[in-house]
C-alpha cells in the first residue's frame, strides 16, 4: 500500500523570508568590510610585482557585486512591520 505523501511542515513563508532578508541586510556590511580588506593580505613591497591594477580590478568587482546584492535586498525588504526587533 502506497503511503500518502507527507504534508510539508507549515511555515509562514513570507514572514520567514523577510526575517532572513533582514539577516542578509545586516550581514552585507560585514561582507563588504571583509572583501575590502582582502587586498591587504596580498604580498606588499614585493619587488617587480604590479599589484595596483590587480587590487583595482578586485576592489571594483567586489564593490559592484555588493551593490547588486544590496539592490536585491532593498527591493524585497519591508521596513514597515512594528514587531521588528
Amino acid at each position: 500500500m502506497a503511503k500518502p505523501p507527507p504534508k510539508p511542515t507549515f511555515l509562514a513563508t513570507a514572514t520567514y523570508r523577510q526575517r532572513r532578508l533582514r539577516d542578509v541586510a545586516m550581514g552585507l556590511p560585514v561582507l563588504g568590510a571583509v572583501l575590502f580588506t582582502i587586498p591587504l593580505l596580498w604580498p606588499r613591497d614585493g619587488l617587480g610585482q604590479q599589484g595596483t591594477s590587480d587590487a583595482l580590478r578586485f576592489l571594483f568587482l567586489s564593490w559592484f557585486c555588493l551593490i547588486i546584492v544590496g539592490r536585491l535586498v532593498a527591493r524585497k525588504i519591508r521596513s514597515d512591520s512594528a514587531t521588528e526587533e
Binding site: P29, G32, W42, G46, G51, T52, L59, W63, S79
Partner: protein
C-alpha cells in the same frame, strides 16, 4: 585658449541656472505639485554632497601620491550605506519621531535636551568643518587660477583672495535665500535639495567625461591604460594596512557624523523607504565617481610636466590636450562639488549655531522670557541668517590664514577625524540606554582635545601654533604628551595616531563615565525613546499639569511657528479635547506635543527651555514623571477594561439578537401550527357532528344508518390517528422517546413494512441479495419509517403502472436505503417542505393523513442517528 571672461560668463550662467532650479522647486513644493521632489532618486543624488571638491579634484591628487588609498574614502561610506538596516534606519526613524534638526540636536535631545551638550557638539562641528569649507573655497579659486593662467594672466595672492571672497559671498546669498525660507527644518529645503541633485548629476557627468576622454582619448583604451598603471609610479601595491583600515573606518563614520550628511540623510529625508534605494544607489554613485580617478592620475603623471599640482589634473589634463569645452565642463563639475557641499554644510552649521548658541543666549538675556519678548520667529530666522554669514566668513578667514597651501586631501582627513568624535555618543545614545550626558560630555571633550592636540594644531605646520620644540619633546618637556607620539608610542602615521587615540579614549571615557554616573529622569525617558524607537514612536510626556495659560502658549507659538500654523495646532488640540475655539486645556500631553512642534523649529533644548520659562519653572521632577507614568498606566488599564467590556457587550448583543430571531421564528411556527391543527381537527369533527345529528333524527333507514355510522367511525379513526401522530411527533421532538435497541435483518424489516402497507396498487421491486444487512437499532421505529415511505409512494405515485424499487447500498460508514418510484417527482420548491409538519402537496382527502408522516420520519431518523432526504430525480432516500 579659453577666454577667462568666457569662463566667468559660463559660471555665472550656471549659478543663475541653479537659482532658477531652486526657485522652481520651491514654487512647485509650495503649490503641492512637488511629488517628484520627494523621490528616492532626488534623495540619493542629494547624498552626493559627500563628494566635495576634495573628492572631485583631490582624489586624483591623492591617487597620484598614494595609489589606491583614495578608495578608502568611498569604501567606508559604501559599507555604512549597505548596512543601513543597522544604524541609518534607526537614525532616520529617530530623526522623524523626535523632529531632530541637526546632529547637535540629536545628541542634546538624547541626553536630556541638554543645552551644554548642544553647544559642545556645535563647537566641535564648527572647528572641524571650517577647514573643510576653506578647502572648498580654495579649490574653486585654484580652478579659476588655472583658467586665468591659460589665458595669460598669472594670479597672485590678491586675485585669489578676491575670488575666494566673491565665491563666499555668492554662496552666502544663495544659502540665505533658499536655506532660511522655512523656519521649521523638518519642512525641508526643496529648492536647495533639488539644486544639489542637479549639481550631483553635473559633477558625475563631468568626471566621467574626463575619465572617458583620458582612457579612450589619451590612453588608447582599457588595456593600454591598465598597462600605463602598471608602468607608473603607483604600480606597486604598497598600501600600509593600518591606514587602509583606519581611513575606511573614519570615512564610514564621517558619513554618519558630518553635519551636512546628517542634514541630507536624516533631516531632509522625506520617507524611510528612500533609504532602501539609496543604500545601493549611493554606493553605485560613489563607484562611478571613483572609477576613473586612477586613470586620470596616471595619465596626468605621464603627460604633465614634473612638479605640476596633481590635485588639478582633472582640469589641467583636458586643457593641456586642447579640449577647452571638456575643461569648462570639468570646471563646472568641481564648482558644483564645492558649492553644494558649502551650501548644505552652512545650513547645517547655521541651524546648530542658531538653535544651540544664539537663541539660548538671547533667551537667557531676557529677564521676562519668551512671553514678553518680541517676535521669536524673526529672531530665530535672523540668527540663522547671521550664522550662515558667520560660518562662511569663518571659512574665508581660515582660508586666508592657512594661506591655501596644504594638499587638499590632508585637510579633508583632519576634518573627518574631528567630526567622528561624535560617533561614540551618537551610537551609544541610540543603542544603549545606559549612556548618560556626563559620559557623552567626557567622551566628546577628551576626543575633541586629543584631536586638536595631535592632528588639528600640528596641521598648521611645525612652529605655527605648536612650536617645533613641543612637537619634538612634548609640552614642558613631558615626553609622553608629544602631539604625534602620545604615551611615548611614536612612529605611527599621524592621522592614524590621532584616530586611534581619540576614538579609544573618547569611547572608553564615554562608557566608563556613563556607567559611573546617574541619569536625570528626562535623560532616561529620552534614552528609552531613542533606543526603543521602533516600539513606541510617541513623544515624551514630561510636563506637569502646568500653570501656564493656553493663551500665553499660543502667543509664544505664533512667534515661532507663524500665526496660521500655531492657531491650526491649537485648534486641533482643542478639538481633540472636545472643546470649541482655539484654546485647549494645558494638559501634559498637549504641552509635550507643542514642545515637539517647537523643537522642529528651534531645536529640542531651546524648545524645552522656552516652555520651561512659560511654565514658570514647573518642569519635570521625578514625582511628576511618576505621576505622569501612573496616569498613563491608569488610562491604559481603564481603556483595556473598556475594551473588554465593549467586547463582552457585543457578544451579549449578538446572543440576544440570535435568541430573538429564534423566538420570532418559533412564534410564527407556533401560530401556523395552531391554525393548522385546528383546521385538521375541525374537518373530521364537522362531519362527525353533522352525521351524528342526522342519525339523531332517527328517520333514517337501516342501510343509511349503518352507512353514516361507518362515516362517523372512519372520521373518529382519522381523528385518533391524527392525535396519535401529534403525540408521537411531540414526544419525538422533545427527545423524550425511549429507543428500544434490538438487532435484526434489514430484509425482515422491509418485509414487515411491505406487508403492513399491504399494497396491491404498486409493484414493489426488491433485490434480496442486497438486503442482507444486520442492524442494531430501534427496529420498530425504523419499520415505521419504511411503512410511511412505502405508503407515501403508493398514495402519490401518479404513473399508470406504479412501481417502487427499494435499493440497499452499503458504504464504509452507512447503509443507504433508496425508495425510488416511477412517478414524476416533486416540484423543486416543494422539495424543501415535504418533511415539514402538515405539508401536503395534493388533496389531503385523497391522502387521508394529516401530513405528519414524513415529519415523524425525519424526527425518527434524527433520533436513530440517521437522515432522510429527498434526492431529485430518484425518490426518497434515507441512510442510517
Amino acid at each position: 585658449m579659453v577666454s577667462f571672461n568666457l569662463l566667468i560668463a559660463v559660471s555665472l550662467a550656471y549659478v543663475a541656472f541653479l537659482f532658477f532650479i531652486a526657485f522652481v522647486a520651491e514654487r512647485r513644493a509650495e503649490t503641492g505639485r512637488g511629488a517628484w521632489l520627494r523621490s528616492p532618486l532626488i534623495y540619493t543624488l542629494s547624498l552626493s554632497i559627500y563628494c566635495t571638491a576634495w573628492t572631485f579634484y583631490g582624489a586624483v591628487g591623492y591617487a597620484a601620491r598614494s595609489g589606491l588609498e583614495y578608495l578608502t574614502i568611498y569604501l567606508g561610506p559604501t559599507i555604512v550605506m549597505l548596512g543601513w538596516w543597522w544604524i541609518l534606519r534607526k537614525l532616520v526613524r529617530i530623526g522623524r519621531s523626535q523632529r531632530i534638526t541637526s546632529i547637535a540636536d540629536l545628541i542634546s535631545s538624547r541626553f536630556g535636551k541638554s543645552t551644554a551638550l548642544g553647544v559642545l557638539v556645535t563647537l566641535i562641528m564648527i572647528t572641524s568643518v571650517t577647514p573643510y569649507l576653506a578647502l572648498q573655497l580654495q579649490s574653486v579659486t585654484l580652478s579659476f587660477a588655472v583658467f586665468a593662467e591659460s589665458s595669460g594672466q598669472i594670479w597672485g595672492g590678491a586675485e585669489l583672495n578676491a575670488a575666494a571672497l566673491w565665491v563666499a559671498a555668492g554662496l552666502a546669498l544663495f544659502t540665505i535665500l533658499f536655506g532660511t525660507r522655512n523656519l521649521d527644518a523638518n519642512e525641508r529645503h526643496h529648492g536647495i535639495v533639488t539644486a544639489i541633485a542637479v549639481e550631483a548629476i553635473v559633477k558625475l557627468f563631468a568626471l566621467v567625461a574626463v575619465g572617458i576622454f583620458v582612457v579612450w582619448g589619451v590612453g588608447g583604451g582599457i588595456r593600454p591604460t591598465l598597462e600605463l598603471i602598471d608602468n607608473s609610479a603607483i604600480s606597486q601595491w604598497t598600501q600600509p594596512a593600518g591606514r587602509w583600515v583606519g581611513l575606511t573606518f573614519v570615512s564610514g563614520a564621517a558619513l554618519l557624523c558630518l553635519p551636512r550628511m546628517f542634514q541630507v540623510l536624516v533631516v531632509e529625508n522625506a520617507e524611510e523607504s528612500h533609504l532602501a534605494t539609496a543604500s545601493w544607489a549611493f554606493p553605485l554613485y560613489l563607484l562611478v565617481m571613483s572609477l576613473f580617478v586612477v586613470p586620470i592620475a596616471v595619465v596626468g603623471l605621464d603627460l604633465m610636466p614634473q612638479g605640476s599640482n596633481p590635485d588639478l589634473f582633472v582640469l589641467t589634463v583636458p586643457l593641456a590636450q586642447g579640449r577647452e569645452g571638456l575643461a569648462i565642463l570639468s570646471f563646472l563639475g568641481g564648482f558644483s562639488s564645492a558649492t553644494s557641499m558649502v551650501i548644505v554644510s552652512t545650513i547645517a552649521l547655521a541651524t546648530m549655531v542658531s538653535n544651540h548658541i544664539v537663541v539660548p543666549l538671547w533667551l537667557s538675556s531676557r529677564s521676562f522670557g519668551a512671553l514678553m519678548s518680541g517676535d521669536v520667529r524673526q529672531v530665530v530666522l535672523l540668527a540663522r541668517r547671521l550664522s550662515i554669514g558667520g560660518v562662511l566668513l569663518f571659512g574665508y578667514v581660515y582660508y586666508r590664514l592657512s594661506g591655501g597651501g596644504a594638499a587638499l586631501a590632508a585637510i579633508g582627513l583632519i576634518s573627518f577625524t574631528g567630526v567622528v568624535q561624535v560617533l561614540p555618543a551618537m551610537i551609544g545614545g541610540i543603542f544603549w540606554r545606559g549612556a548618560t550626558r556626563w559620559g557623552a560630555v567626557a567622551g566628546l571633550a577628551v576626543g575633541f582635545a586629543i584631536w586638536g592636540w595631535t592632528l588639528f594644531l600640528p596641521s598648521f605646520g611645525a612652529g605655527a601654533v605648536i612650536s617645533a620644540h613641543v612637537l619634538a619633546d612634548g609640552p614642558f618637556g613631558i615626553g609622553w604628551l608629544r602631539p604625534q607620539a602620545l604615551f611615548g608610542i611614536g612612529g605611527i602615521d599621524p592621522v592614524l595616531h590621532a584616530i586611534l587615540w581619540s576614538m579609544l579614549l573618547n569611547a572608553g571615557l564615554f562608557f566608563a563615565v556613563s556607567v559611573m554616573t546617574f541619569p536625570l529622569p528626562i535623560e532616561r525617558l529620552q534614552g528609552a525613546q531613542f533606543v526603543n524607537v521602533y516600539e513606541h514612536s510617541v513623544g515624551t510626556q514630561a510636563w506637569t499639569q502646568s500653570k501656564a495659560e493656553a493663551e500665553d502658549l499660543l502667543i509664544m507659538s505664533q512667534r515661532i511657528l507663524g500665526p496660521a500654523d500655531a492657531q491650526d495646532l491649537f485648534q486641533k488640540a482643542a478639538q481633540s479635547q472636545g472643546k470649541a475655539g482655539y484654546l485647549p486645556d494645558v494638559t501634559p500631553e498637549f504641552v509635550a506635543r507643542l514642545e515637539r512642534e517647537l523643537a522642529g523649529s528651534v531645536g529640542a533644548a531651546t524648545a524645552h527651555a522656552m516652555i520651561g520659562q512659560m511654565l514658570e519653572g514647573a518642569s519635570v521632577t521625578v514625582q511628576d514623571l511618576i505621576a505622569v507614568a501612573d496616569e498613563a498606566a491608569q488610562i491604559m488599564e481603564y481603556s483595556n477594561q473598556l475594551e473588554e467590556k465593549s467586547a463582552e457587550q457585543e457578544r451579549t448583543a449578538r446572543a440576544l439578537r440570535e435568541a430573538n430571531e429564534k423566538l420570532t421564528a418559533l412564534s410564527i411556527q407556533k401560530d401556523a401550527f395552531l391554525s393548522q391543527i385546528s383546521h385538521e381537527l375541525r374537518t373530521p369533527m364537522t362531519s362527525i357532528r353533522s352525521f351524528s345529528e342526522i342519525l339523531g333524527d332517527g328517520s333514517l333507514g337501516k342501510a343509511d344508518q349503518a352507512k353514516y355510522a361507518g362515516i362517523i367511525h372512519a372520521e373518529a379513526l382519522r381523528l385518533t390517528r391524527l392525535l396519535d401522530d401529534l403525540l408521537d411527533l411531540s414526544v419525538l421532538e422533545n427527545g423524550q422517546v425511549n429507543l428500544n435497541q434490538e438487532t435484526g435483518q434489514l430484509s425482515d424489516l422491509l418485509d414487515r413494512a411491505v406487508s403492513a402497507v399491504g399494497g396491491g396498487q404498486i409493484l414493489i421491486l426488491r433485490r434480496r441479495s442486497e438486503e442482507v444487512v444486520t442492524l442494531t437499532t430501534d427496529l420498530d421505529r425504523l419499520t415505521q419509517v419504511f411503512i410511511n415511505l412505502i405508503a407515501n409512494a403508493e398514495k402519490y405515485c401518479d404513473a399508470p403502472n406504479p412501481e417502487l424499487r427499494i435499493e440497499v447500498t452499503r458504504t464504509a460508514r452507512a447503509v443507504t436505503v433508496d425508495f425510488i418510484d416511477n412517478g414524476r417527482g416533486i416540484d423543486q420548491e416543494s422539495q424543501q417542505v415535504i418533511f415539514e409538519k402538515f405539508s401536503r402537496l395534493s388533496d389531503h382527502r385523497k391522502a387521508g393523513g394529516a401530513g405528519l408522516g414524513l415529519a415523524i420520519c425525519r424526527e425518527i431518523m434524527a433520533r436513530l442517528d440517521g437522515a432522510i432526504t429527498y434526492v431529485p430525480g430518484q425518490g426518497g432516500r434515507l441512510s442510517a
